[in-house]
């Protein structure tokens, strides 16, 4: 049997659905890190992706309902990884957070959103009452 073409080893879509409870967040971030490691990301980039996914799941847990689930889709290509995180909640506060205000009272909830925006190359949110919240974030392979 001939080996698969090299391209097929780094291109693919992985879907994961976890319960929207805190103890499952580690499963999500480790699974996505394993998917990202199929691409030519640096160790630092993979750590960034792990944290961004964990923050997205944490937001979903904090703003969603306990009985719901979080659906995560990772699409890996030669350019990088696109990760979609969808839940049934109404999402976190999405306003831009100024770095110097993070330590102020009441601002710590927005730390997660700040981190996602800082660590990923692009981030898009959609949120409505019927479909819940979807976050789509991209990390490009550098170099």
């Amino acid at each position: 049997m001939n080996p698969a073409p090299a391209a097929s080893r780094t291109h693919g879509v992985v879907r994961l659905e976890i319960p929207a409870i805190a103890e499952w967040v580690a499963v999500a971030r480790l699974a996505v890190a394993a998917v990202a490691s199929r691409q030519r990301f640096s160790v630092d980039d993979i750590e960034d992706i792990k944290l961004a996914v964990a923050e997205s799941c944490t937001n979903a847990i904090q703003h969603g309902t306990p009985e719901s689930t979080i659906a995560i889709v990772c699409e890996v290509s030669a350019e990088g990884i696109v990760i979609s995180v969808r839940d049934r909640g109404q999402g976190p506060p999405l306003g831009a957070v100024e770095e110097e205000r993070i330590g102020e009272a009441g601002r710590t909830e927005e730390l997660g959103v700040f981190l996602i925006r800082a660590l990923m190359d692009s981030v898009e949110y959609t949120s409505d009452v019927r479909d819940g919240t979807q976050l789509v974030m991209t990390k490009r392979v550098s170099g």
Binding site: A22, V25, A26, E47, L51, I61, E99
Partner: protein, 114 residues
């Protein structure tokens, strides 16, 4: 995934909180409980040792910020020990390097409390 928390008395009235493992939305309540208990017992000078922490997220940062706010109300301080580049990067990009004292070793962190 878990976090191990060890609290020990150090010089003067200072206490050291040694953390080992990963601090996330699941494990951070355990860290919060340990810090809250120290502050409730009126210990306001703390060194939190993150040397054996492999991962921290916003909920972990929130616990540290909450602890710092409470001890500052009593004239205290929280210093951190951290050399892990990935964790230092998180403190850097969030600007938290400006509100926490972050040191390479426990002795320096302890000395800076005085």
């Amino acid at each position: 995934m878990d976090i191990k928390v060890n609290v020990r008395e150090s010089e003067g009235d200072a206490y050291v909180v040694d953390l080992t493992g990963e601090i996330d939305v699941y494990t951070s309540p355990k860290v919060k409980d340990a810090i809250t208990e120290l502050i409730d017992r009126e210990h306001y000078n703390l060194v939190i040792n993150l040397e054996k922490v492999r991962y921290i997220d916003s909920t972990g940062l929130g616990v540290l910020i909450g602890g710092l706010k409470r001890v500052r109300e009593h004239g205290g301080s929280v210093n951190l020990v951290c050399t892990n580049p990935q964790i230092k990067k998180i403190f850097d990009i969030t600007g938290l390097v400006k509100i926490f004292g972050i040191f390479d070793d426990e002795q320096s962190a302890m000395k800076a409390l005085a």
